[in-house]
Amino acid sequence: MNLDFSEEQKALKDQVRRFLEARCTPSTVRAVLEGPLSFDRALYEGLAELGVLGAAIPEEYGGVGLSHLELCVVAEELGRALAPVPAASSIYLAAEFLLQAGTEAQKRAWLPRLAAGKAVATFAFAEGQGRMTPDKVQAVVADGRLSGVKSPVPDGDAADMAIVLARSGGGSGAGALSLFVVDLAGPGVSRETLSTIDPTRSQARITFDGAPAEPLGGSGDGWHITTQVMDRAAILMAFEQVGGADRALEMARDYALDRMAFGRPIGSFQAIKHMLADMYVSATLARSNCYYAAWALASGAVELPVAAATARVSATTAFQHCAKNNIQVHGGMGFTWAFDCHLFYRRSNALALALGSLSTWESLLIERMSAGNINAAA
């Protein structure tokens, strides 16, 4: 029994944390929040140089060739530091799509550049409001040309390439959907940055009008592959969320120790103390569920779909809970722009929606458990 990261993985984690403490301070985050750029390219390339973007990409494709456990560790630190970089789009999603379903040529074309942080890719999935279902996909590819509107696309304004889920060849339901690689610098692509609750992770509306599209994976396999990759990304995202939850809890704890009211630290009041205890509880449950999911991800266990949904639901709940109550513990100061609480609040609510909302994952979790994998959570 070893439900923990190895010493090497912990050392990597420390290294990433030190790097981010130096290179990704709150002002780094605020520069993206308040400025015109959609992400911090220097920081992103720094992460690439550290080897962390390519942690789970094989060496033959320009990666470091470690496992997904290392990538989990990295994700937690990116979440903790609120890093304003497109790692989720480019690494958790696009690189995973390529690894799972790309041809050798596609892998060689993109993975080295993604691992090096020289190119950014994303996954163009959503088409407006509501839970994504196969029937909601209206984007269509005919004769190798993609048309349709994808919105919101994470990091879609900065990405060089998008993997796009679209209809092709008629039919309906999941079987009508396929994946395509689209060069966003190519013809037939126009995009617009969207206003969001968390500008530190950019979102765009991309309109495709006859953009050249190259198939990724088999025709009609689009929904199936998407589900697989979304599960994998959900686990990495859950680590980001746990990192954020932990940091929000620490901020609240530190403030509760320091801030005096009525002649005593506010953390000595049970109202605050018990709020913090409950934050600790949800962060701990989420972390434990994430460790289980990390094991499933790294080992390719059959429990992966249930473990991914479990980690995702638990981590979403924890980060929203901790970020929300971090503001409450800070009182009025927590609602100022100057304090960092809102950065975590924004991110927690944005990540809760990325990859599909909490209610979607709750439903998926129970659907998967009922489909036979109940022992995983017994």
Partner: protein, 419 residues
């Protein structure tokens, strides 16, 4: 039990309605109706000018500050008539934002503690909206512990009897366009905290007063910091005795809690309309069992607040003082708004992250998500409200106090805290 007016109430309501029909700024109605949470209701013209114009019209016809005595510019009406007025005023009451603090809190304090001449001078222009007041109470080190304030007032060394004020206030709504401020200061740091406070009012144009807007977490700036640097305040502008500031402030705070409407909204109606339009798995969201369960719990809180408000109005209508049940409003509404906003975004899926006034829901749930944390803090945090309910409504003992009988200067303070 009924929802009807008494004949007198009905007659008064008809009068109010007639005045509003004839005089309200109808051209602003569309934007007032669409106003989203936390931003100024009026965008098409200067909101302060619009507010003052409507207040002036009301004042000229005797509809301003209905429950104030006529001699101070009020309407000399009963509390229930005030409620009826505000029901009829409806969306136009959103125009009164700049006057809420002055009419609801500063005015009653002046009325209770100032001399007759000062009341004659100060209250009528406050009622008519010509002069705006703000309340200079909260401080960075204060927060829930209001009496922990540090802004110092010291007797001027020139023997004039004036006071010299130095310090900083925070969370001051409307300071940037206020004419007057109600200011609580510490005049004696060597006595227990509640005993060394003194209340003043001062012109916000006094030299040494500087107002700086605070940017909030949601990007807006409804509040200010106010800095005092050697600000001279005449002793004639003292309210209550030296050292009596805490008692004076209680008048202000009690009036805050007495203003009763028909309950705070939780934004449930907006959520419900959205769920009628939005889809979950190809069906209207309201048909989804999970959505129904969440909606039902929001619905009964919204409805419970509404009818709790009506029970308070019933008491007013019978000439009674409303019971303690009114104290639950903000506690319930604040937490509900935040949960409700998160739930609405969840239903919007990945697109819930988009905060766009041009979207079908005009970004209102995103605005609510970003504004609602403040509702759980401002004017008494959730924790303070639970203390108030526990202690004043249920009669439970107060928290153990370590700061009560200690000279203020000896009370431990935060180390390096910014606030």
């Amino acid at each position: 039990m009924d929802f009807d007016d008494t004949p007198e109430e009905a007659a008064f309501r008809a009068q109010a309605r007639a005045f509003i029909d004839a005089n309200a700024p109808r051209h602003l109605a569309p934007e007032l109706k669409r106003a989203s949470f936390g931003s100024s209701a009026v965008q098409s013209e200067d909101p302060l000018r619009a507010a003052k114009a409507w207040q002036k019209k009301k004042a000229e016809a005797g509809w301003a500050c209905l429950h104030w005595p006529k001699e101070y510019g009020g309407g000399g009406r009963s509390p229930i008539e005030r409620v009826i007025w505000s029901q009829e005023e409806g969306i136009y009451s959103a125009l009164s934002g700049p006057f809420v603090i002055g009419h609801g809190m500063c005015g009653p304090t002046v009325m209770a503690w100032a001399g007759e001449e000062q009341k004659q001078r100060l209250l009528p222009p406050l009622a008519s909206g010509e002069e705006i007041w703000c309340q200079l109470f909260s401080e960075p080190a204060g927060g829930s512990d209001l009496a922990g304030l540090r802004t110092r007032a010291m007797p001027a060394e020139d023997g004039s009897g004036d006071w010299i004020v130095n310090g900083q206030k925070i969370w001051t709504s409307g300071a940037q366009h206020s004419d007057w401020g109600l200011l609580i200061t510490r005049t004696a740091p060597d006595v227990p905290k509640h005993k060394g406070l003194t209340m003043f009012f001062l012109s916000m144009r006094t030299p040494g007063v500087e107002v700086r807007p605070i940017k909030q977490a949601n990007g807006q700036s409804g509040f200010n910091e106010v800095y005092f640097k050697d600000v001279r305040v005449p002793d004639a502008q003292r309210l209550g005795a030296v050292g009596q500031g805490w008692q004076v402030s209680l008048t202000t705070l009690m009036n805050e809690r007495l203003s009763i409407g028909t309950g705070m909204s939780t934004y449930f109606p907006e959520l419900f309309r959205f769920c009628l339009e939005a889809e979950v798995d190809g069906e209207p969201a309201v048909n989804d069992a999970a959505v129904r369960s969440r909606l039902a719990q929001f619905a009964v809180r919204q409805s419970g607040l509404r009818y709790t408000g009506m029970r308070a109005i019933t008491a007013l209508s019978k000439g009674q003082t409303p019971g303690p049940e009114s104290s639950i409003g903000k506690l319930v509404a604040g937490a509900t708004m935040q949960e409700l906003a998160m739930f609405a975004l969840d239903l919007q899926g990945q697109a819930g992250v988009v905060w766009d006034k041009a979207s079908p829901q005009e970004g209102r749930f995103q605005a609510l998500l970003m504004r609602s944390p403040a509702t759980r803090i401002e004017g008494g945090s959730d924790e303070i409200l639970r203390n108030i309910i526990g202690e004043r409504v249920l009669g439970l003992p107060g928290d153990i106090r370590v700061d009560k009988d200690v000279p203020f200067k000896d009370i431990p303070t935060s180390g390096g805290a910014k606030s």
